[in-house]
């Protein structure tokens, strides 16, 4: 089945979800269902769940918690009432002892009675807020995944969960940086304000063209590189903790919630 990405901007999450569930839509979710919250996913066995949730509390910029499922229950209650974590994301990554062993489109065969699902805020609301305020966000124009880097910023550890912050890049016009900080500060559940701007080397990025994920982009003469905490961080953290099993979303292929971005904004 072929989807027009411009038309997907206008689709409602509840209309999109059946396509995802039937594995007819397996693509990334950038720019889809404009105005609706998107969420990163981390699923862990219960014995890791408390430490992971404390990790999120200590690192709210990369890991803002939107919803945590009941133990063993794959259905959501808050972000979307009828959604099922087993089938309702376009693609997943399954890790065993820190190694990616599968990238399935449905995780029913992996589901366990002790699984706890964490839905974490992503940068979709942020991007939408910027674009809606006439701030140029280049990867949104192309509707592609932005440049993603593993930085040298250490996250605050919790139990076995520790490691470096993953960040996304958005080149911003120098004279718009102040406004950009104000706008994204309204969305703490969508990574909030930047973690760094200016010289990428200061956060361990030696070559801006060498992305760890996503698509490289140009920094123009009137732009400054601005970095935000990224929801891929928990994937890297999972690799480090080597749980016997962990399941995450596939980068760029997120859960699309029924909750509006505006519902998570602070101080309108």
């Amino acid at each position: 089945m072929k989807f027009d990405r411009q038309e997907l901007k206008k689709i409602k999450p509840e209309q999109l979800r059946p396509y995802i569930r039937r594995q007819e839509f397996k693509d990334h979710t950038v720019g889809i269902a404009e105005g609706y919250t998107q969420a990163n996913l981390v699923i862990l066995p219960q014995r890791y769940a408390l430490d992971f949730m404390v990790f999120c509390q200590r690192n709210p910029k990369p890991c803002p918690v939107l919803e945590v499922t009941e133990i063993g229950v794959s259905k959501l209650k808050y972000l979307a009432q009828e959604a099922d974590l087993k089938t309702d994301l376009p693609q997943y990554r399954v890790f065993k002892n820190g190694e990616c062993v599968d990238e399935p489109y449905d995780i029913s065969r992996y589901w366990r009675d002790d699984f706890v699902g964490f839905l974490l805020g992503c940068s979709a609301s942020l991007d939408h807020a910027l674009v809606s305020s006439n701030i140029r966000v280049k990867h949104m124009e192309k509707m592609v995944v932005p440049s993603v880097y593993i930085t040298n910023i250490q996250c605050a550890p919790a139990g076995p969960f520790k490691g470096r912050l993953v960040a996304t890049l958005r080149p911003i016009k120098k004279n718009e940086l102040n406004r950009v900080i104000q706008l994204c500060s309204r969305y703490p559940l969508s990574h909030g304000s930047p973690v760094h701007f200016g010289n990428p080397k200061e956060i361990g990025i030696d070559d801006i063209k060498k992305v760890n994920w996503g698509n490289p982009c140009e920094i123009e003469a009137d732009e400054i590189p601005v970095f935000w905490a990224c929801g891929v961080t928990p994937q890297v953290i999972c690799l480090n903790a080597k749980p016997e099993i962990a399941i995450t979303h596939y980068p760029g292929k997120l859960f699309v919630a029924d909750q509006l971005m505006a519902e998570t904004a602070l101080i309108a």
Copy 2:
């Protein structure tokens, strides 16, 4: 030892803590160490900790999480580096199977290797923000605990944790309500914006003079009763869940952190 409450306004948390530890200061902490964050405390065995943390995530207004301790570790790492949960609050309440069995000034003899401590935001930052903006907060003038009520608002449940929201009352001048909502919205980690204003009966408070805790106060002709989520909520929730053991702060006698209130404010 006798303390002048006006002088206590200016004390630094690190100066106050030794008095608390030696049980020379056992009083409430309202108005103490002006400008510093205060925190409510809930300590639970590990097996309840994930469900409780999910309860907090689902009910951020009564239970904004400031810090969660490592399993079995009574020392804090973030709110105050040298503080110990066993000794550094003026008074505690110990619950066994939902019943209060002790109100000690030191919980060393109760401490267990599986204890997890939750430090939760309280209304101190909120009160300070209001007073600093020339909003009259009556209980702050008298430096007493405000009126506290058990409402009929049901919290979102998580595992065994469920029950009704506890709220504090602050009578606010009608023409200042808008400004009050704006000011307290900046402090989501301090209960944030009100949960109700106007007729107390709409949230199950039939007689405003009958407080569940704290001190009754008058509503004057130009004032409207405004209610905020209260950090006593987790105590009520603990009673309902009947864990074999739970320890909380004594109402009004909170942990005084080294973190400034200004550090937790959103969008200055």
